[in-house]
């Protein structure tokens, strides 16, 4: 978070992240080129580069899509999520290089507009195997461009986080287009079952992880129905909450993070104001709730970021009764100070 505008706030973690990212991509390209030269000695430079950059983009997209659900299952993957947007931009750039090579090689030599040629060079036929695959790649690249262009916090702040997240969910559509691009493109020509197995394994991994994560998320969204006469809802037992961490419960359809720290209990919205990250999966650091995604911080009693920062999240009224935590499901306005519940000893 920042009180003054800086286009990119570099820190050691981001530099390390990008170093590993670029190094990994470069290593992949070199290894891919070396293996291709050994296995296919007559391959042309254009085709080699097309395949290297295309497969690098496709593989990187798989990794990017796996980061989210992996972080749901294990916090050790959170460092991968920290700067995921740089990986997304890299994925777009790799795809763009692949597309430029394809257009220059196959579509730029004729008297038809190269972009138009992508759509008219392979007309629809009655054969499934002959389905035009290049338009799928074109539209996937278009979506990746849109996501890369709006990945900066400028757009996050101006569109607001829910709209930004909704926009970036179109990554699923881009992924579907790319799977179709590969299935009806290279896999129609390469008959080796290794390529089919690799593509299938990638798809099963991505979709499997997301389905498992979705199943787990449904459990978290089950509402609490034990409601007292004063409107408070029995949320959980104090003993269920680890020290300096939170338990997430669903009240009135939204998730609430209930934190335990220094003999007190406070409840805030589970949604970080930055990228809507899960505050309840973070911890108390320096007396502040710290988002696990990018380190945005909030005071547990007020839901407000410590000065001079200005972010605020809604708070919830808390009551303690016989070792159990009761929360009023009606949220207070963001930044409203609430009395923390005192743990009875």
């Amino acid at each position: 978070m920042s009180v003054t505008h800086t286009s990119v706030q570099w820190n050691r973690q981001k530099v390390c992240y990008d170093f590993v990212l670029i190094g990994g991509v470069a290593a992949y390209l070199v290894v891919f080129g070396a293996i291709s030269e050994c296995l296919f000695p007559y391959i042309t430079e254009e085709v080699l580069l097309m395949r290297a950059f295309g497969t690098a983009a496709f593989l990187l997209l798989h990794i990017i899509l796996c980061i989210g659900p992996l972080c749901r299952f294990n916090a050790k993957f959170l460092p991968l999520l920290y700067n995921r947007r740089h990986a997304g931009v890299t994925c777009f750039l790799l795809g763009l290089i692949h597309a430029v090579l394809v257009v220059a090689t196959y579509h730029a030599g004729g008297d038809v507009n190269p972009i138009l040629s992508i759509f008219v060079s392979s007309p629809l036929t009655a054969s499934v195997a002959g389905m035009p695959f290049q338009p799928f790649g074109f539209f996937a690249l278009l979506i990746l461009f849109l996501l890369a262009a709006t990945s900066h916090d400028f757009w996050l702040a101006n569109l607001n986080a829910p709209v930004w997240k909704a926009l970036h969910m179109s990554i699923y559509i881009a992924y579907a287009f790319l799977v179709l691009h590969v299935t009806f493109g290279i896999l129609q020509g390469e008959m080796n079952w290794f390529y089919v197995a690799a593509a299938a394994m990638g798809m099963v991994t991505v979709l499997g992880l997301h389905c498992l994560a979705a199943r787990r998320e449904i459990q978290l969204d089950l509402p609490r129905e034990v409601r007292g006469s004063d409107g408070f809802v029995d949320a959980c037992a104090v003993a269920d909450i680890p020290e300096k961490r939170a338990r997430i419960v669903c009240l009135s359809g939204e998730r609430v993070a209930i934190f335990k720290y220094g003999g007190r209990i406070s409840a805030v919205s589970n949604v970080c104001q930055h990228q809507n990250g899960p505050l309840g999966e973070g911890m108390i650091v320096g007396g502040c709730i710290t988002c696990p995604w990018h380190g945005y911080q909030y005071l547990p009693e007020t839901g407000a970021a410590p000065p001079p920062f200005v972010e605020k999240v809604p708070t919830f009224n808390v009551r303690m009764n016989n070792g159990r935590v009761w929360i009023h499901p009606q949220p207070n306005p963001p930044g409203t100070k609430t009395e923390p519940g005192l743990i009875e000893i």
Binding site: T44, G109, A129, Y172, Y175, Q188, M191, L207
Partner: protein, 170 residues
Amino acid sequence: MIRSLRQSDRQMVIALGILLPGAFAVGIVARKPAPLVSEFPAALAAAPHLFENIEWRRVDLFKNSPIKVSLLCEHRGAGAFAFAFSAAEDFAQPDLLVYWISGTSNFTNALPENAQLLGILIHFPTWSCPSKPPPRPVCCCYTASPTTKSWMCPSQSAPMLQPRNSLGNS
């Protein structure tokens, strides 16, 4: 605040989890295997010839193009014939296809039905003439570009150039 987003996310994941594997499976099942060499016509599987003699070599057969063409034969003036193509290393023309047409034809906007594909003009190979050259055979390079196409007649004495515009414009 973002419950609807989470629900949309789950719905998209479930939809993809059902539709995408289905589309993938259909695409894989519909694949057509590449033909084996043993399935090729006998003319294409014939033993390669050794062409020792250069009957002629021309650099001007293809208008506005640096392609050089040589007519080769097994023995001087006899035996099987073949074409050899060459050009400067920086010559780049995508999808340049070479066809053999037995006999002269009235060319229209499409290739004649009897046009026989020799191959793609890449790495400048040598192709055998599919049959004994008739009096006026035609070898044609075909591409989407209007700058490289023309026709030539490789007779054994002197090649005759029939300059034309592009196939698409003729």
